[in-house]
């Protein structure tokens, strides 16, 4: 009670547009830059950005400890249920799209893989590059931590919901995967398009058993020829609409969407 009084006084006295954004590490750099520029325009605004993974953000939304949950996957059925049990209606705003690139070390000769081969590699059925037309080299598969939406999306989309092999290398953040794959000859991993740089090589992926292989890029993702594309979403509950509206409007504005493409995501 005391706390409530204390905070409400504080809130009333100083800032009306304080809000927290929590969740996906993929959306983190985007939210961070959006928040940064938003606060430059609106001097009174106070936006806190925290990572932890899409699951973290959504459970924080359920607990009521964040205003916006940033997510790189759709809200799950039971997460939605839990919110409804608390009497809240969840709102969903897609702020951008992201393509997942499968990447290997630049020295790797393999540059085309089918979805089935990817499934084999990440579930541990294929363990050597020579099985998919490369040299005799052990495959080292990198994954994100289980909390990340990227982990779940890749699992659903590419592994068709099968589990990753036990003992897959799991990295706390995407940046660390890029770093490690750049250093490791036999490595393979998946990263958001925004993280793609010269240290790693993007694999051309085929979803039609090897008929066509498509390179991940903003262009192929936009014209939907590249298959592994997902929405980046802000979730909030209708009660806090007034608080979060200005910020979300900003993200969807031309200025906000420019940041989206600057970072390497795909605009709406």
């Amino acid at each position: 009670m005391k706390k409530l009084l204390f905070t409400s006084i504080l809130v009333a006295a100083s800032i009306l547009t304080a809000q927290t954004i929590k969740g996906s590490d993929t959306v983190l750099p985007l939210s961070q830059q959006e928040a940064e520029t938003f606060m430059k325009v609106n001097k009174n605004a106070r936006v806190t950005v925290t990572g932890g993974g899409s699951g973290v953000g959504l459970s924080a939304l359920i607990e009521g400890t964040t205003d916006i949950a940033q997510s790189s996957r759709k809200i799950k059925f039971d997460e939605k249920k839990k919110l409804e049990e608390k009497g809240a209606k969840v709102k969903e705003i897609i702020i951008a799209f992201d393509a997942l690139a499968v990447v290997v070390n630049p020295k790797n000769k393999v540059s085309n893989l089918t979805r089935e081969q990817l499934e084999g590699i990440f579930t541990g059925k294929i363990t050597n590059w020579k099985e998919v037309g490369g040299e005799d080299l052990k495959i080292v598969a990198y994954s994100r931590e289980t909390s990340s939406g990227t982990y779940e999306f890749f699992k659903e989309e590419v592994l068709k919901k099968k589990d990753y092999m036990p003992g897959i290398m799991s990295m706390p953040a995407t940046g660390a995967i890029v770093q490690s794959i750049g250093q490791t000859p036999g490595a393979i991993g998946y990263i958001g398009l925004a993280y793609l740089d010269a240290k790693v090589k993007a694999i051309h992926v085929s979803y039609d058993n090897g008929k066509t292989f498509v390179e991940p890029s903003v262009k192929t993702a936009k014209d939907e020829t590249y298959p592994i594309v997902r929405p980046l979403i802000y979730y909030y509950v209708d009660k806090s609409e007034a608080t979060v509206k200005p910020f979300i409007d900003y993200v969807l504005s031309a200025a906000g969407q420019k940041i989206v493409s600057d970072i390497g995501f795909i605009t709406k």
Partner: protein
């Protein structure tokens, strides 16, 4: 084998080991300083992060760490000092004091990540303080408690009994003796312990992961229920996440250097005070 020769060989091995270990320390420090010194500027220290946290400074993280230091010491210091007074002045050698000491040691050996778990369960969830300075301060305060107690106890033990006896002889009560004789004499060393605990608290990452730390919050906190950025957490996220790790490296080196400098200054201050005053105290009796 000639035993003189054996001794020579053994001693040289030890000397080399000594140099080796110190070498490792200097290597780590040198590496961070060498890579970080170019990043340090007034802007880096007194500005908020900009441009996707690749530019600007780390001021909010410094302030956040400072808030956590102050908050955790408000929790740990009075409790720790009173606890040490009790074991050392009231029940010095009894079963109770042995039990308390054992518990203090045990608490001190609990890994910091457990404090994080506990802090999240109790302060963030059960007390519903949420991720906040107050939750982080309590978590870190409890973590620092054993260190405060141990150093305070040592400080109290260094006060010669003759002073206590003298005070009693003058008709002072126990409390008066503690208040006017023991505490003032032990004060510098108690402060040393306090400073050492600050050093420990300022570098902890695991306990604040789920109790207070924010990834990006350029504004300074306005209440104890706000989240803050903190130096160690900032170093962790900036060295493992972000779209471009290479571009973020300078900021990481700079943050590491600021963090190390902070901790080293704190520890140097502590050992300086200790040496300065232990001479005084030693000379006095």
């Amino acid at each position: 084998m000639d035993k003189k020769l054996a001794q020579k060989i053994a001693f040289w091995i030890f000397r080399i080991l000594g140099v080796f270990v110190v070498g490792i320390l200097l290597w780590i420090l040198g590496f961070i300083i060498y890579n970080g010194i170019g990043v340090i500027s007034l802007e880096f220290i007194f500005d908020a992060p900009r441009d996707g946290m690749l530019k600007g400074g780390i001021f909010p993280a410094i302030v956040g760490t400072f808030c956590l230091i102050v908050g955790s010491m408000i929790v740990a210091f009075p409790l720790g000092v009173m606890s040490a007074i009790y074991t050392n002045e009231y029940v010095r050698d009894g079963k109770i004091s042995r039990f308390i000491r054992m518990m203090t040691n045990n608490l001190g050996s609990i890994p910091s990540v457990i404090f994080g778990l506990f802090g999240m369960a109790l302060f963030v969830n059960a007390m519903s303080w949420g991720d906040s300075i107050i939750a982080g301060s309590f978590t870190l305060g409890l973590l620092a408690l054993p260190l405060v107690i141990r150093t305070t106890e040592e400080a109290l033990r260094m006060v010669p009994d003759s002073l206590r006896v003298g005070s009693y002889a003058l008709g002072a009560s126990k409390l008066q003796t503690i208040r006017y004789v023991v505490l003032p004499t032990a004060f510098p060393n108690i402060v040393t312990g306090l400073i050492l605990s600050i050093g420990r608290v300022s570098g902890e990452t695991a306990p604040i992961l789920f109790t207070v730390a924010a990834y990006f919050l350029p504004k300074l906190p306005s209440s104890i229920f706000d989240q803050v950025m903190a130096l160690p957490y900032h170093l962790y996220v900036i060295s493992t996440s972000g779209t471009n790790l290479e571009a973020a490296r300078p900021v990481a080196y700079g943050t590491a250097l600021v963090l190390i400098t902070l901790v080293l200054i704190i520890n140097f201050t502590a050992s300086f005070i200790r040496r300065h005053f232990s001479k005084k105290l030693g000379g006095g009796h």
